[in-house]
Every structure is written in C-alpha cells, then in structure tokens.
C-alpha cells in the first residue's frame, strides 16, 4: 500500500504507484520523478501554537537528509506527518513509494519474538526468510527467536531498523533512533545505518539533536526554526567521514550558531 498520506490539499496526488527507480523509463524525467518526498506549505497548529508554518521540503531519491532544530521546533511533528501519523496537518504531502519508521524507543512489540516483529504487516512473499535475511544484515541472525525484552538497547534498536528496512521503503524516517544508545553502541549503529542505506538506497530523513551525528551521516542538513526550514547545507565530504575533517569543522560552527549555541572558546 503506497503512502497513506493524510489530507492532501487541492492538486497534489498522494500515493503514487510504487515503482522502483530502476524500472522507470529514463525519459520520464519530470521534477517529481527525482523526488522521493515533496512537502508544500505544511502547517500544523496545536491550539494557538503554530509548530509548522507553511513548510516546504523536497527529499530526493536515495538522499540522506538530517533535520536539526531546537526542542519544540517541530522536527518530530514533521516526521509524524510524513509517517502518516498526524491526521490534522494541513498542506501538501506527497511521498512516492512506501514509508517506514524507526522510532526513538525501538517500540518492538514485546509479545512477539524478534522475527515476528519483522514479519508483522509484511505483505511480501516468503516474509519469514526475508525477515531472517534482514536480521542477518543487522547482525541479529541468532536473536531471531528471542523475546524483545531480552535484547540489549543496541540490539533492540538494530531490530527496529531491520523491521523498517525489511519493508524496502522508498523513504526511511529515523526519529532520533540513536539518542538512547551509549556512545560506543552509537558509533556501531551509525556505521550500520550507512551500510544499510548504501545497500538499499532509500531516501532517509533523520531527525536528531546531535550536530555531529548529522555531519557524519547526511548529504544535506536542514535546521528547522519558526516552523520552516530556516537553514540548509549540503555536505560534500566523502564517507566515511571523520569529525576533524576541515569542511565539517567549518560547517559545525555554522550549524551551532544557526541553532543558537555560541561556539566554545573565548568570545
């Protein structure tokens, strides 16, 4: 089922047929064909408070986008809208292909074994062997039959990633999925996400509050402020990246100041 997107405004057609990029005719290039997700004039109000105010955003096919912003800036609201979890959002939302989400807490269903968490709602043929292949990819082949409550934090988060990726989504939404992991586990999972992204090629929207994480992973970094995309940078440095790459250091300072954090050192 393609993109169950809420409340499209006039003109936008949501739920384009889920055609793999490779299957499309090369001459069918139109602006929308290169975009995995297009957001136009997205507005979300909670009572008197306007969290998203006419936000525009385009995510290209296979593009890794990181979304930064102070708390309350609407990062998670945007992600929930793209995930189809928000019925009350106004504006245009168009996602080509399916959407999968990995949440901040792994949100595994505790009464289903890890394998069954992956096959839940999976309509592809032979779901069990697909699930086991996905678990092998995240290094959890031997935990397929385990109960979720017996997993460590890192294992649970990897299982959650596998549950999202086994659906072969066109757009993968990551809602701060690394924030609760310890520093060492986080490094491992960062590498894993990049490997999975390279292997499967979904467009990724990563919501994070960690500037370094965004710099290490993303093609493009957005800063959300005032309900819109206030700043935008393209990160050209080749992967794997090191945090002391000169480009990244320059960008880091710019990002921090955009987020309203004064840089360290003497003023």
């Amino acid at each position: 089922m393609a993109a169950r997107v809420p409340v499209p405004v006039s003109g936008t057609v949501s739920g384009t047929v889920n055609v793999p990029a490779s299957a499309q005719a090369p001459d069918a290039v139109r602006p929308a064909a290169t975009a995995q997700a297009t957001v136009r004039g997205l507005t979300r109000r909670f009572g008197d408070r306007t969290v998203l105010d006419g936000l525009d955003l385009t995510i290209g096919r296979g593009e890794f986008v990181a979304l930064l912003g102070r708390s309350g800036s609407g990062k998670s609201t945007l992600l929930r809208a793209l995930a189809g979890l928000d019925e009350e959002v106004e504006g245009g939302l168009e996602v080509d292909g399916s959407v999968a989400v990995a949440f901040q807490e792994p949100r595994l269903v505790p009464w289903k074994r890890v394998r069954d968490n992956l096959t839940l709602g999976l309509t592809a043929p032979d779901p069990v062997s697909r699930a086991e292949a996905a678990l092998a990819e995240v290094g959890l082949a031997d935990r397929a039959g385990a109960w979720p409550l017996t997993l460590s934090g890192g294992e649970a988060q990897r299982a959650s990633l596998a549950r999202a990726l086994v659906r072969e989504p066109g757009l993968l939404l990551l809602d701060e999925p690394f924030s609760a992991l310890d520093a060492l586990t986080r490094i491992t999972v960062h590498r894993l996400v990049l490997d999975l992204w390279a292997a499967h090629g979904p467009a990724v929207l990563l919501v994070t509050h960690d500037v370094d994480e965004a710099l290490l992973l993303a093609d493009r970094i957005l800063v959300l402020d005032g309900g819109r995309v206030a700043h935008e940078w393209t990160v050209a440095a080749p992967r794997p990246r090191h945090r002391d790459h000169p480009d990244l250091l320059t960008l880091r300072a710019a990002l921090l100041s955009a987020l309203g954090v004064t840089p360290e050192g003497p003023a």
Partner: protein, 281 residues
C-alpha cells in the same frame, strides 16, 4: 522515558547474571519449607487435644481425627465425589456463561466508542448492585432449581472479567498502536496482534478474581434449597449436628479454590512467557 526503559533492560541483564541474591534465596528455600508448617501443625494438635479432653464438644467442632475419618467415609461411600461433581458442574457452567458475557461485553466496549457508550454505563450501574441481594429475585424468576445457581455464578464471574479486560484494552500502549499504523496493519490485524495480546495480562488478573468470586457465589447459591452438591451436603449435615461433615465440605471448597488459582497461574506462565518476570525464571 526510553532511557529509563533501556536502563531497566540493562538492570535486567545484570540481574540475569550470577549474583549473591538468588543463591541466598535458594539457601533459604528448604529451611522456609518446614518452618512454615510448624504453626499450623501446632494448632491442629491443640485442637485434637481439646477435642479428646472434652474441652471442645463435637457438636461445636469435631476433632481433626474425626474429620479425617469422615472425609474417608464420604469418599468411599461416593457421597463426596457426587457432591463435588454437582458443584463443579454448576461452577463450570456459570463460569463459562459469565466469561463469555464479561469478555464479550468488554470487547464491544473496549474496541469502539459507540460500544463503550452503549455498554459501560449499564455495567457500571449493575456493578454497584450487591449481587447476592439478587437471590430473592432470581428465585422468583427462575425457581429454586439449577438455573438461579448457575446464573448467580455467571453474574459474579462476568464483572471482574469485564472490568479488567476493558481496562486492559484501553491500557494498551498507544505507541505500539502507532507502530501498527506505520506497519500498515489494518484494523483487524491491529486488534489481533496488538490490542488483544496487550490486554491479556490484565484479562488474566480478571480471570483469577472471577474464579475466586465464582466459588464464593457458588457457596452462597448452594445455601438456597439445594438438593445436591457440596452446599446441600453441608446444610444436610447441619440438621444432624455433623460438624465433621461441615468441615470436610469447607475444606473441599478451599481446595477447589486453590486448585483453580493454580491453574490460572500455570496459564499465565504459558501465555505471558514474554514478560520480564517470567523470562527471568
């Protein structure tokens, strides 16, 4: 919140490792076993002495030895097995009817707002009725045969199951419902994979409560013109001042209650293997 959960998991992992606490628990185990039998045995012994010395006349309370002998006689003559069978049938029928009604109504109320508005106010009002007080009405409506007894058990059973199942359904983690939406589960799949299993622990709490109250309802119902069953055996014994038979009947009631409770515990262990408290065993 997730940090707390993860810390909890880490804590669980640590607990699973070798630690002095489990060892001391097992060391205490056998000692605790016989220590706990001492005071009940002393009471039974004092009771026997009081009966033998004539301090406690048999028309008030028979001696433990007399009760044991009577129990044996009642089993041999077939009186007790027959009585148990009759009472067990009443409880099983009543429990089945009450469970179907309680769980069924909880599903109706739990799975839709319309259902809740239709069912819940009525159930909350009926819950306030002291259901043993309904016995006179039940006798007028259904006579003094099996029907009012079975119905009283059914009524008693349905409320704990209704209340707990309803609360269980409504208490299912909304975050898991969101996961179900992002996994494109339809409504039927959501109910089957998320809502019902999520409500099961609370439903089993309701099951234990309802089985407890089922035996209680049976005891009360069997005081009313029973012509067979444990209640009849006890009432009949009262006519002849047979305190030994009365005590045997009471002991059987409690044994059956303990037995059904053990069955539910077993069921819980089977159905809730995924829970932390069962995983650590």
């Amino acid at each position: 919140m997730s940090v707390v959960e993860l810390q909890g998991e880490l804590g669980g992992a640590v607990r699973a490792g070798p630690r002095p606490r489990p060892r001391s628990a097992t060391a205490r185990g056998p000692r605790r076993g016989w220590h706990r039998w001492v005071s009940p045995l002393v009471v039974v012994l004092l009771w026997q002495v009081a009966s033998a010395s004539g301090l406690l006349p048999a028309r008030l309370l028979a001696a433990p030895s007399q009760i044991a002998a009577t129990a044996l006689d009642l089993v041999r003559s077939g009186t007790l097995p027959t009585a148990i069978a009759v009472s067990l049938e009443r409880v099983l029928l009543g429990f089945a009817a009450g469970a179907v009604a309680g769980v069924g109504l909880a599903l109706v109320a739990g799975l839709s707002r319309t259902g809740e508005n239709a069912v819940d106010p009525i159930m909350q009002m009926l819950r306030a009725l002291p259901f043993f007080g309904l016995i006179p009405l039940f006798i007028l409506w259904f006579g003094i045969g099996e029907t009012p007894k079975v119905l009283l058990v059914a009524l008693a059973v349905s409320f704990p199951l209704y209340l707990n199942t309803f609360a269980g359904i409504r208490g299912v983690d909304g975050k898991l419902a969101e996961v179900a939406r992002t996994l494109r589960l339809g409504r039927a799949a959501l109910v089957r994979h998320i809502v019902l299993p999520g409500a099961l622990p609370q439903t089993l709490v309701g099951l234990r409560q309802s089985l407890g109250v089922a035996w209680l309802a049976l005891i009360v119902a069997e005081q009313v013109n029973a012509d067979a069953g444990l209640g009849y055996m006890i009432n009949d014994a009262r006519e002849f001042l047979r305190t030994d038979v009365i005590v045997v009947g009471l002991l059987v009631y409690s044994a059956l209650g303990l037995l059904t409770d053990a069955l539910v515990r077993l069921l819980e262990r089977r159905a809730l293997t995924w829970r932390r408290e069962f995983l650590s065993r």
